[in-house]
Symmetry: D2
Subunit: 190 residues, 4 copies
């Protein structure tokens, strides 16, 4: 049995749609429990995030997948506040050897989303986690990984309603990321 | 005449020391006014930064230099909240063609500080700004740019008192960054 | 008068098409001479690039714009061999204060092109150059900066003929980068 | 049983010293075979790398650890030529799910080494590999990870003889990276 947490912030709901797809992909792997964890702006006071329940959930997980929109070329400040609060775990190596991965959503096809994924990776490395990316070729007829991202999953959404964007292909891409992380986490736990 | 704003967040005061050195360097250039702008956690509500006076100061500046400690592999959440709030300027190209630069402080010699500088650069590019880095060779006997950083200035400080770290060499490095940015901003304004 | 060199490697010709557009944009600015400089694999011996004429052209330029396809998540090895050979200029600060910028081409919309642009930036910073990015919003009806890149210009091309890809919008994007670099270089030279 | 390949380029021998330490660390794990693979400039013709034996060794490995000096802000061109040649494996997903990691050496404490490690990571993600970083806190009295690097191992060496630099602490750091990669590779292979 392995537990996968998908911890994300979403401003307009598009990233939550992507997060739900990642959860679904992880949960589809037999022996895996996947849970959606939401970073809430209400838990941020003067720029500092505090929510002990969220951290307890993550501490008890075998894999943590990070998700955020790309705002101004990086993860949302709300996500960063959560990341800064994880420093306590950093000091004692609390997340060492957990599996990690990431996904992000923004309006244009490329749009500095790689910068956000690189930040998630850098955060995971600070924690001594093991990183799993998006191992799907963009060359297929289903739109899987259509944007061509390898470090993690990318979805595209601007001002569209959340039932339209990210589109089915992007959500399918997210699903495959969740599935892959779950498979690796299970293998490492055996 | 050119106006240079050094906008920074500091958690423990070390980054403020570095910021003051950058201000001093910029102010040393004839024809330049340099001002220290501080991002205050009190201006962040649920992860969103709001301070119209700060943005008015920056709108009226010819160059903006970004500063933050490196927390968990990136800029502090408080800085990121400020960056996210700059999206309003992004929409209307308000900072286009301003000169930009950055500096960061953390405990170890390397320590993912480059990730923070790369984020500052990415933010500046989103705004259509012009980036000026650290053009000093680390091979000198004064400790200038002793850590070997080119994208911006790096200072080192952990738990030491703020009158000890960042050390004189790091502050001198910051001064030279301020000076260089001021010189370029003046040239572009002629 | 300002001289702008667009130095690029191209494997299949797509990046040359993009480079020509950048040249055209730079040359459209009154008072600017723009020249296409090509990195040739024949000048690489055991992984080391040597071509004194190329370096003399660049030494005499006010701005250098770097271009390469994105291969395996970064600039082509041929470009990197050229970059490594520029170390001689690095030692004596030969390119300090020149204006710099970059563009890249690859098959998918995002596809780690930002990693290549970030490398060009890092190279420019090593040299103490001043970086100028892509200051065009992707939200327009002409396809300008349609991929959403700010650190430099991105073009998309896979196996298509070079008269088809990169497409007109991408080449127009490259043109605007050339124009902007030329404008900044002229201003700094006054 | 797991096979770990440490594939590296070295210009002046310092990176080979680091590579040997990584090999030693990997080989110290029971059930693991570790081999040093060297990228030779002689195998590069007009910027293109070709050596079928090297690729056969890597194809047969459970983990591949990348190593290169940091030249002009990124991996050496010789390493990049090798990386470009790995595109054939990329097309058919030949390295998918292998474990990956990286290390680099340069003259100053920080010095854009993170840019090289980020490139190694980006390359590994293109291949669908699983990334393992440096999970050692820099806060210890043995100099382990003294430079403060998490994405991979960093060593420092300039013009010193190779028996002096990288120093014992940096080599010990490399050893721990090799050990960690070997442990993860074994677990995933069970």
């Amino acid at each position: 049995m392995a537990t996968i947490s998908i911890v994300h912030f979403s401003g307009s709901g598009h990233t939550t749609k992507m997060a739900e797809a990642v959860v679904q992909g992880a949960a589809s792997v037999p022996g895996v429990t996947a849970q959606l964890v939401t970073i809430n702006g209400d838990d941020i006071n003067k720029g500092r995030y505090k929510n002990d329940d969220v951290f307890k959930q993550l501490d008890a997980s075998d894999a943590i997948i990070f998700g955020s929109p790309t705002y101004m070329g990086g993860p949302a400040a709300q996500f960063k506040a959560f990341a800064d609060a994880s420093a306590e775990r950093w000091f004692r190596g609390g997340w060492r050897d957990k599996v990690s991965a990431g996904f992000t959503v923004s309006g244009s096809p490329s749009g500095d989303k790689l910068s956000t994924l690189h930040y998630f990776f850098t955060l995971a490395m600070q924690h001594g986690m093991i990183w799993v990316g998006m191992a799907e070729s963009p060359y297929n007829d289903k739109g899987i990984n259509r944007l061509g991202s390898f470090s993690g999953a990318m979805g595209q959404a601007g001002q569209e309603p959340t039932d339209v964007a990210p589109n089915a292909a992007d959500k399918h891409t997210g699903e495959l990321l969740g599935q892959r992380v779950a498979t690796v986490a299970l293998k490492l736990k055996r």
